[in-house]
């Protein structure tokens, strides 16, 4: 294949000072601003009422008994199993026992759920508003500028990403337009923010976009059903204990060691 002569484009060095540099600085400053805005807007963790706390922790306790049953001797495990299954099945730990068996409340009417949604909304707004503003700022002032050349060759597929806003078919994909630089900053500044703000910051774009941890006790989850399932789990355990033959294990272990 005949080698194409590398393209050269004469760029004004002023492009660096007036486009590349300002975009970068603005992006970093926005990230810092967003971090502090999130810190300021964060609502304090909501107080959990005693019955709700009891419901959660009792369920966790049931799970702990189920997963660590082997530390108990057979009689004490039996006693706990009987007690817990009865209590779970009768709904003794429920937040509001009279609502048993009814479908879960609509999360829209639950004030607790609304709070969580407001928090999410706030976060999304803090994300969206500055991004829209910067995008339009770049589009108005800097659209169509080719500002830098990547120091390594890349395939033609990247052309649409790197040369957004510059509609030139024949240009080498190594050339980058200003809007592409904006996107690169948007996704690539995470480590700069880690350095500036500490590791758990809200500055970068995709910090909070990970998969949301499934909320075990969130609104819309029927606690009674969870308790019933837990009671069933406890009931089917075939008990053994770490204390069975522990002295034999110990003697053998010491010998082989």
């Amino acid at each position: 294949m005949a080698q194409l002569p590398p393209q050269t484009i004469q760029r004004d060095p002023q492009l660096f000072y007036w486009i590349l540099f300002p975009i970068t600085v603005v992006m970093i400053l926005t990230g810092i601003l967003r971090h502090y805005a999130t810190v300021l807007m964060a609502s304090p963790p909501k107080k959990v009422e005693q019955p709700a706390l009891k419901e959660q922790r009792s369920l966790m306790h049931g799970v702990a008994v189920r997963s660590n049953f082997h530390v108990l001797t057979a009689p004490s495990f039996k006693a706990r199993r009987e007690f817990l299954t009865t209590a779970f099945e009768s709904g003794a730990y429920l937040k509001d026992p009279e609502r048993r068996g009814q479908p879960p409340a609509n999360p829209m009417t639950d004030p607790g759920a609304m709070d969580g949604m407001m928090g999410m909304m706030k976060n999304n707004m803090a994300m969206m508003v500055p991004n829209t503003l910067i995008m339009s700022w770049i589009n108005t002032f800097f659209s169509g500028f080719v500002i830098l050349k990547l120091p390594f060759p890349i395939t033609i597929k990247f052309k649409s990403m790197l040369q957004a806003g510059v509609a030139t078919k024949e240009m080498d994909p190594r050339w980058m337009s200003s809007i592409s630089w904006y996107f690169l900053c948007y996704f690539g500044l995470q480590f700069v923010f880690n350095f500036l703000l500490g590791s758990d910051n809200d500055g970068a774009a995709d910090a909070g976009n990970g998969p949301q941890a499934p909320n075990m006790f969130g609104p819309g989850v029927d606690a009674d059903k969870q308790f019933q399932a837990e009671a069933e789990n406890l009931a089917v355990i075939k008990h053994y204990s770490v204390l069975d033959d522990v002295e034999q294990r110990l003697l053998e272990g010491i010998k082989t060691r």
Binding site: A2, Q3, P5, P6
Partner: protein, 146 residues
């Protein structure tokens, strides 16, 4: 052991430092060659492809030196690492009980920052339920005894 690994690392870095400037000089040379070749490409295309192929590989001694330096540095760094911590529960726990704080010293002789001793000691000392008045009485008695 430490002086050996440290001198190994130093030697490796020296070697790399020796290899690197020459290679950077070389890449500067390559760049200028490419510039001239671009100018020449206008005149004849076939001649320049040969020239480009000839100038696109590093001399063997420089690449060899760089590789050897990297291997030596890696070796030195690996030798310099702190002693590995136990990963078996009973060995780890035994070390805590047996050696106390001494077991958690790192290579520079300081006690590790994250060393907490027996994490289950809390279940017996129970800071949330501390009876401060009893502790003060006991302490006062201890002072009297001294």
């Amino acid at each position: 052991m430490t002086w050996f690994s440290k001198s190994t690392t130093t030697f490796g870095f020296l070697l790399l430092a020796h290899a690197c400037p020459s290679s950077s000089c070389y890449s500067a040379y390559e760049h200028s060659a490419l510039q001239s070749h671009r100018a020449a490409s206008l005149s004849s295309l076939s001649a320049t492809t040969q020239q480009a192929a000839a100038s696109s590989s590093l001399p063997l001694d420089i690449s060899l030196e760089t590789i050897v330096a990297t291997v030596i540095i890696t070796l030195g760094l690996v030798l310099n690492t702190a002693k590995l911590r136990p990963i078996q529960w009973r060995v780890w726990a035994g070390q805590i009980e047996r050696a106390g704080e001494e077991g958690a010293r790192n290579s520079s002789g300081e006690i590790d920052k994250d060393f907490v001793g027996n994490p289950f000691k809390l279940l017996e000392s129970r800071p949330g339920f501390v009876d401060i008045r009893k502790q003060r009485k006991e302490f006062a008695e201890w002072v009297k005894q001294q």
